[in-house]
Amino acid sequence: MTIDEKQKEIIEEFSVFDDWMDKYSYLIELGNNIQLIDDKYKTEEYIIRGCQSDVWLHAEYVDGIVNFTTDSNAILTKGIAALLVRVLSGHKPANIINADLYFVKEIGLDQHLSPTRANGLLSMLKQMKLYAMAYQAKNS
């Protein structure tokens, strides 16, 4: 599935929710079911600190593909982080670097990725792209 297809799939999933309560319940579910980062990577080295909640992000590069795992101390943050990982993980660095993540706005969670949000998610997204850039540079 391409990044674009994954985004459309998520938009479709969220389209059934009428109100924020359902949407947040689903995020909690996503947060609870996410494949968590290996404990050995839950260290200072992999932490992205927000003012309110922290995110851990680990990346690995296997056969030209970048795989991400994540975790957070706040469950809503974890749910949104899970969506970012679902969309960007398993792709070539170039696709990750060029990805336009329109789904965030479409499902009404763009406020969580605004610079004023202190949850570390915007920094997480930047970090995901930076990993991709680093792997691409290493590869060329």
Binding site: M21, Y24, S25, I28, Q52, N73, T77
Partner: protein, 427 residues
């Protein structure tokens, strides 16, 4: 006897004579605050983030609007009508503040950008004059970062030392420790009037008395104090008292440093610029008299005029009415929230302002804050710029509901119901 106390006594008398006149009608008061009338996410806003900033009554908004619309002109320098009009209003604002805090002189009231800049002013200017290597400054473990970092910067600059008064697990200051920390090297004590995180009202009169017994002056960070307890600087005998306009129902970007005349005369200016000088040559500059010596450049004069309007507004409601109502609200909220299983209140001081910080078992404060936001409740979550308090309780944040006189018991009931919903969603 202090002026405020006199005022309170006289109010009580009036209340006894005619209870109807001064009856506190919160619904009536709420109408003065336009922002409380609007709907967020299509519901009525429940604003419980008053320790971060308070809302502004229309009287304050109208004053600011009027001055920008009709009278805006830079103060002190102009000879024309507008400048004189604004200068007069600005200096009248200084007089209002002087009366509000019962300072001895108007020139002891310095307008700043807020509490932070007032504390930084003292940390710089007092520090330049009086702090030397190995001197000590005492703060408390429940300070806001803005009453920690300026002193750390000063200590770095002057190779001085910072000492810290600890607090007990109920959120009360360990006052005995102050006595032990004070010595001949101590040059200043800087503590807050009210903790912005726990709501503890510190015994500042006692702190000042103990410190003065050792000939050490005291700065009080009044950012959370003055609007909930009132202040009489002469009765307190405080050396410096700092507060912010925007937390007293006035505009942002304006604050006050009260300083005793003798200190303000002795310490050097903080910033250089226009208005703070008498004469400038390349050989020598002669500084202006108080208070202008500390008001370099164009001040936020319309902010000051707005602050005076806010003071006038709360005085029209009567401070005692406000404080009594807030106490009632705090007691109601504490009792009600305490019944929620898994909710722990951080800070149980006997003397408390209307701030309730709490944590919920197994629920991250950010998650709770996000949920409450969607239920139209504005609370603050996180460490509230008091990381040492979080370290003490071994938590990384709290949910803080900070109330004021326009909040209602119905809003507390709604907060209670909403917390139960949050718990339901996460557990």
């Amino acid at each position: 006897m202090c002026k405020l106390h006199n005022k309170l006594l006289s109010n009580r008398l009036v209340i006894n004579l005619n209870p109807k006149i001064l009856e506190f009608k919160v619904e009536q008061i709420r109408k003065d605050f336009p922002i409380l009338q609007q709907r967020i996410y299509n519901k009525s806003l429940v604003y419980l983030d008053n320790a971060a900033t308070t809302q502004k009554p229309k009287q304050v908004i109208d004053t600011i609007n009027e001055y920008y619309t009709k009278y805006n002109s830079n103060i002190h320098r102009g000879v024309h009508f507008l400048s004189e009009k604004t200068t007069l209003a600005y200096e009248n604002a200084r007089e209002s503040v002087k009366n509000f805090i019962n300072a001895k002189h108007e020139h002891e009231v310095i307008f700043t950008h807020g509490t932070t800049s007032a504390i930084n002013l003292v940390a710089f200017s007092y520090g330049e004059k009086f702090i030397n290597e190995n001197d000590e400054i005492i703060i408390s473990a429940m300070e806001h970062h803005s009453n920690i970092v300026p002193w750390q910067l000063l200590c770095e600059r002057k190779k001085a030392k910072l000492k810290v008064i600890p607090f007990f697990s109920n959120g009360e200051l360990a006052l005995d420790e102050l006595e032990k920390l004070l010595n001949e090297k101590t040059k200043l004590v800087a503590v807050n009037h009210v903790s912005n995180t726990m709501g503890t009202i510190n015994p500042i009169k006692k702190i000042i008395e103990i410190s003065h017994n050792h000939n050490v002056p005291v700065l009080i960070d009044g950012a959370q104090g003055i609007q909930h307890t009132g202040v009489d600087v002469q009765d307190l005998d405080v050396d410096f008292y700092a507060f912010s306009g925007h937390k007293v129902y006035g505009p942002t970007g304006i604050g006050v440093l009260y300083g005793k005349e003798k200190w303000l005369e002795e310490i050097p200016p903080y910033q250089g610029g226009g208005d703070m000088i008498k004469s400038v040559t390349f050989a020598k500059t002669v500084y202006n008299d108080l208070p202008f010596k500390f008001e370099a450049g164009t001040t936020n004069y319309i902010g000051a005029i707005g602050l005076a309007s806010a003071i006038k507004y709360i005085e029209s409601i009567e401070l005692e009415n406000i404080f009594n109502y807030e106490k009632e609200l705090l007691d109601y909220a504490t009792t009600k929230l305490s019944t929620i299983e898994g909710l722990s209140i951080i800070g149980y001081a006997k003397e408390k302002s209307c701030i309730i910080s709490f944590v919920l078992d197994g629920i991250h404060h950010f998650d709770a804050g996000m949920m409450l936001d969607k239920m139209d409740i504005a609370v603050r979550t996180g460490n509230h710029c008091t990381q040492p308090i979080m370290d003490y309780y071994r938590i990384d944040g709290t949910i803080r509901a900070s109330m004021t006189f326009y909040n209602t018991k119905e809003e507390i009931d709604y907060l209670y119901d909403s917390i139960l919903k949050v718990k339901q969603m996460f557990n």
